[in-house]
């Protein structure tokens, strides 16, 4: 029997929870600062604009293309070479209103035809998103993120206990924000596929969190005499092997997508790679710490109110529902 984590391992996560929580808070504050200082590099999906991916037979002077497009009322023109230098592939980006954007693709084609024979060059991809459509996609995208979190919050609150739900959501917010933060630092383009990656990540990371929570609940049920710290520690340690194995296998898949999947999904896979790492960290360290925090807070408040003589509802853990 191979074991990544030796059975009976007992790492004291609970006592170090302040370290993890403060580390994450610092990172999150940094992300928020970054948002205002640097912001996300929105792709054309969200900002509106044109993006044309083309390949030509030989190295090519892009100055001419730039001049003609600028003359045609196209703003914010950027041309860059992508992929292998020998492949001679370029990415042309532009901003502007609906009408001038509509002509970008045709103008690029025209310019290329002057230099190369039509069979030699190829426009591999041409995306044009009008400013109005971009704003709409941005709004819908963030709404989607919001609804995904809301659905998970409700499910966890019903299936577990209202006390578990905040931890799950904190962990998910934590993961999404950190991935956003990494995209702010790297200034990789943030587009629809990255948003999809973050949503997939919300599902994945919550999967991890639920498995830890499930064990916490079971431990509390079997050992009611345990303090919350002890119960959480036991649960996290017992599930640690599974958490690491699963994260490892998922990481194998997304890193191979990143490495071999080609230009189009490279950033998508990158977001997932970051997400798997952060998601694992958050379910082990953050989600469990939040439960301890909330339980202790409730205990204190209860003790305080008992002192005042008011009888309040007891915050007992709901017994495990029978499912047989």
């Amino acid at each position: 029997m191979l074991n990544i984590i030796r059975p009976g391992t007992n790492i004291d996560f609970a006592s170090k929870r302040h370290i993890f929580l403060s580390l994450s808070v610092v990172v999150l504050i940094a992300t928020c600062v970054l948002f205002f200082v640097r912001g996300l590099n929105y792709g054309i999906d969200f900002s509106g604009g044109a993006e044309i991916h083309l390949s030509v037979p030989k190295a090519w002077d892009i100055g001419k293309l730039r001049k003609e497009l600028t003359a045609g009322g196209v703003e914010g023109l950027k041309v860059q070479q992508i992929g292998e230098p020998s492949a001679n592939e370029y990415l042309v980006r532009a901003h502007g209103d609906e009408k001038s954007l509509g002509t970008v693709s045709g103008k690029v084609n025209e310019t290329l035809q002057k230099t190369f024979s039509p069979t030699d060059f190829e426009i591999k991809r041409a995306d044009v998103v009008g400013p109005a459509a971009g704003a709409l996609l941005r709004k819908q995208g963030f709404l989607a993120m919001f609804y995904a979190l809301l659905v998970i919050l409700i499910y966890v609150a019903i299936r577990f206990d209202s006390r578990y739900a905040p931890g799950a959501i904190v962990a998910l917010l934590h993961d999404s924000l950190i991935v956003l933060g990494v995209f702010m630092i790297t200034q990789y383009q943030f587009d629809l596929t990255i948003l999809a990656a973050i949503l997939a990540l919300i599902g994945y990371s919550n999967n991890d969190t639920i498995i830890v929570y499930d064990r916490v609940r079971e431990t509390i049920h079997m050992h009611p005499e345990y303090s919350i710290e002890k119960a959480v520690n036991k649960a996290v340690n017992e599930t640690l092997g599974r958490t690491i194995v699963t994260s490892l296998t998922t990481f194998m898949v997304v890193s191979s997508l990143w490495f071999f999947g080609g230009q189009v999904i490279k950033n998508f896979a990158f977001a997932l790679m970051i997400g798997v790492i952060v998601g694992t960290y958050s379910s082990v360290f953050i989600a469990s710490s939040v439960i301890i925090f909330i339980t202790n807070y409730q205990k204190k408040r209860q003790a305080f109110e008992n002192k005042k003589g008011k009888k309040r509802k007891q915050y007992n853990v709901r017994p495990e529902p029978k499912l047989h």
């Binding site: 059975p7 659905v151 997508l257």
Partner: protein, 574 residues
């Protein structure tokens, strides 16, 4: 083996055979037309994988409301006249009201107030009263009718686009609505993007209007246009302004200077290369005598005089009667053929034209270009006019080679990723790892079979979704195995350990997958295009994961346990 096991095994084999039949044509890349294989369906590839054109079109409802309310205004005026109620000063107001709620006003004699109100209530139920003071009524379109207008416009637009594309000839086009005011058009394999765009986006509103030659001597159009130019109303051929916007502001500016019920419209003069060299203004009557709605057919024919392609049309019986009367009444005057507010030609009526046939001559250019233009014009005229102006909000073109690269790279990356996971599982869990690999393989097979069966579309993020499913599906196996290991460590016997391992793990797996599915569901609702593909594969993957983890993996484990029982000192290889 027990009978119940064999029963379950039989079910699994049936599933596998079915899934195999569904997936085989895709994996073996069969030519569906030639093959003898009984099942003839392949996985649908998204536009990002097979190349093509994806467009989102927005509908400009503002003009639709305006057109609707001005038509209602004309009808109301006619009806009041018939009832000999003297109402006057009918006017369409757009300036002070929001664009989606234009108004009309008119004056009525105080004595007739109730009669007017009754008429509006009885016959113009789509209008609502928005103002009533000192002999003025102001009316707007009612809220419910605005909704009806929106829905009808959307549905009609989709219908018209579909007709046009059918005639254009694209295999498996998809035209759907998105929200209340957008249309998504997906055309796989289309290469000539500009042509497809002009075919879809063109309103194709055909109108026949009379040219006002009577006032030609008193109204000097070039002087008037000069006056407008001084006020900054001018069209720059190289600029980004829409020509239609220029014409609209020009007519608004000159409204007081032009004779009543007339407007300026332009004809385009093209050079040899097809480029617009100049625009000739015409003073025409605003009233539309005959419209494209009365068109019955349009075909490409050769003009006997110029030997160039032209579009000949025939009108419906009703249109023919109108046309007959119109030409009879206006011999010697010029008739303007106006398409999308641009004068195509303005021939002088030589004699009464019966039978409702006519011809639209096109601009100049090479023979091939004119022929192409004639073909497209005939298509749009036959398919009918769009009820509203469409705007291109989003447009994505994927070349065929990029799609093929994506399929190759995506599948390769997926296979490498899966191979790594399989190796790790066998290394870490030994025999149980082999069981996990078997159930994972079946999982992928089922996902693909369901994709084919549902006719869902596979996109590049979809391929990533399948790869990710492998990563996530492993988790259920890991959860089960770690549980069994714990039970074994706690001293339970083999069978009991496996039994309680599966049982305890089940609820965890179920909870985890449900929340995962919820996130994927949200993605499906809000996502568009390729992202929808990702959500679909993820959802199917989750369903298959639950099935394989609970049913398949368990079945194989029972087989493994039976084999162990024959040994003298059985230990679980996990």
């Amino acid at each position: 083996m027990e009978r119940s096991w064999w029963g379950k095994f039989f079910v699994l084999v049936c599933f596998l055979v079915f899934a195999g039949i569904y997936v085989y044509p895709t994996v073996a890349d069969l030519d569906l037309k030639k093959t003898n294989f009984p099942f003839k369906q392949k996985i649908n590839l998204g536009l990002d994988l097979q190349g093509g054109l994806y467009m989102v079109l927005g509908i400009d409802f503002d003009n639709v409301y305006k057109d609707f309310i001005s038509r209602q205004s004309n009808q109301l005026e006619d009806r009041l006249k018939e009832k000999s109620i003297k109402a006057s000063n009918f006017e369409v107001l757009t300036k002070d009201y929001s664009l989606d709620d234009p108004r009309i006003t008119f004056e009525y004699p105080a004595a007739e107030k109730e009669a007017v109100q009754q008429l509006i209530k009885d016959e113009f139920w789509s209008l609502r009263l928005t103002g009533d003071e000192q002999g003025h009524f102001q009316l707007g379109v009612s809220r419910t009718h605005r909704k009806t207008i929106r829905e009808n416009t959307l549905n009609q637009s989709i219908e018209v686009i579909r007709n046009r594309i059918d005639e254009f000839g694209v295999s498996e086009p998809s035209i759907t609505s998105q929200g209340a005011d957008r249309i998504v058009v997906e055309l796989p394999g289309v290469k000539d993007v500009e042509r497809a765009k002009s075919l879809i986006g063109r309103t194709a509103k055909l109108e026949f209007k009379m040219v006002n030659d009577k006032d030609a001597s008193s109204v000097n159009l070039s002087v008037l246009m000069g006056e407008a130019k001084e006020k900054g109303i001018v069209f720059d051929e190289e600029g980004t302004q829409k020509f239609s916007d220029y014409v609209r502001s020009l007519n608004e500016f000159l409204k007081v200077k032009l004779p009543k019920n007339t407007e300026i419209s332009f004809e385009r003069i093209q050079g040899k290369t097809g480029k617009v060299t100049s625009r000739v203004p015409y003073l025409i009557f605003s009233k539309t005598e005959v419209t494209g709605e009365d068109l019955q057919d349009a075909q490409v024919q050769y003009d006997p005089d110029t030997r160039m392609p032209a579009v000949s049309f025939s009108l419906s019986p009703r249109g023919a009667v109108l046309f007959d009367k119109l030409t009879g009444d206006n011999i010697g005057n010029r008739l303007a053929i106006v398409l999308d507010n641009i004068v195509f030609s303005a021939p002088t009526i030589q004699s009464r034209i019966g039978g409702g046939r006519g011809q639209i001559t096109l601009g100049r250019g090479s023979h091939d270009e004119v022929l192409k233009e004639a073909n497209d014009l005939a298509i749009v005229l036959r398919a009918g006019a769009l009820p509203a102006q469409l705007e291109f909000m989003e447009q994505r073109v994927v070349g065929p080679s990029l799609g093929q690269d994506s399929i190759r790279n995506g599948s390769f990356a997926g296979i490498i990723g899966a191979a790594l996971v399989f190796l790790f599982m066998v290394f870490y869990y030994r025999v149980s790892g082999v069981i996990a690999v078997a159930s994972l393989t079946m999982n992928v097979l089922f996902v693909m079979a369901i994709l084919v069966g549902l006719g869902a579309t596979l996109t590049l993020p979809g391929i990533a979704g399948i790869a990710l499913t492998i990563g996530i599906a492993v988790d259920s196996n890991v959860v089960i195995y770690e549980r069994i290991r714990e039970e074994v460590r706690s001293g339970k016997k083999l069978l009991a350990a496996v039994e309680s391992g599966f049982q305890k793990a089940f609820r965890t797996i179920f909870d985890a997958n449900i929340t995962n599915a919820a996130a994927a569901g949200v993605l499906l609702m809000y996502g568009t295009g390729p992202i929808k593909g990702f959500a679909v594969t993820l959802l199917i993957g989750i369903v298959c994961t639950l099935f394989t983890a609970v049913f398949v993996c368990r079945l194989l484990f029972e087989l493994y346990l039976k084999m162990l029982e024959k040994k003298t000192s059985p230990t679980l290889s996990i």
